[in-house]
Amino acid sequence: MVDELELLKKQWQKQDETLPKLSKKDIYPMLLKKSSSIVKWIFIISMLEFVFWIVLSFAFGGDDSKQFEKEHGLQTFDTVILVLHLGALIFFVSWFYRNYKRIETTDSSKVLLENIIKTRKTVKYYIWFSMAFLAVSALIAFIISTQNDTGDFADRSMTVLALQFTAIMTVIMLLMWGFYKMIYGILMRRLDRNYKELKKMEV
């Protein structure tokens, strides 16, 4: 029986004359072009995600919110939260950068994929941390502010306030998580699929 794959192999090795031929003059300008690799996009988007949380933590620093914090005894708490969040941010960004620097195209495909996925996972852990941190700090802020209430919440029952708080927090969390998953999917779908395929070979 004719083995088509062997025939194709012979044919494959004879295709050189049908391949494009680039001269040195064609290659030189290529070295100056910018990469559009997925790793570059992962870096840019991850940085934007870090920036998003920094902006978010400073977004509530306006005059109105300062007044609210003063009235409800949240000033110390707010400072503690900011310091903790910045500390965590430095930790996660340096962890991300360390993993990012390990990405080398000269590694085997499996190691390369592992390192890219590990780098992106650092951002996932940061998002998990930030969401948990936001939920817990919002809960503590809610409790402190209702205890130190000067009249804003007096006309509403505690149960209604707690339910409103839970509903708002749930919606915010779901939106953030959904948005993150969507970006993760766009960036990583192909890489995850290829990594799974390589892992499957080990079974």
Partner: protein, 165 residues
Amino acid sequence: MEKDLQEKFVTLLEENQNIVHKVCRLYTNNREQHNDLFQEVTIQLWRAFPKFRGDAKFSTWMYRVALNTAITLYRKSKRTVQTQDFDDVMFRISSEEYDDTVELQLKVMYNAIKDLNDIEKALVFLYLEDKNYKEISETMGITEVNARVKMNRVKGKLRKLVNPS
């Protein structure tokens, strides 16, 4: 210094460009994508070149970077229209050697390879390039035994596609 390095790199790439073109041919569907992938592989090779110590063959090193770029780094554009003559060109020189039936079978086999997933395609590519299983396993990051087992499965899958009965 930088100029010397650049000159050395461009010379090596010019001499070995066929490796990159063959990876591009297998992983893309039209001339535009082929050029995009070639460009990206060139950037990745150039970035990694200062660390190329020369104890490995430049071509072996290129296989790894080119395949890794095709499998992981390259973002294929949405324009996946396959141009008619893009792959046929490979078979033009075969017409004198084989009869029409064999040529058709080769085309079916080639199209079946192009439909494989990225990883299977990389295995078949290295096989077509006559690489041994040691080199295949080192490039892919799997054991030699697993590379052999997977390759046999892919061969079976391809033969079934070409000879369904």
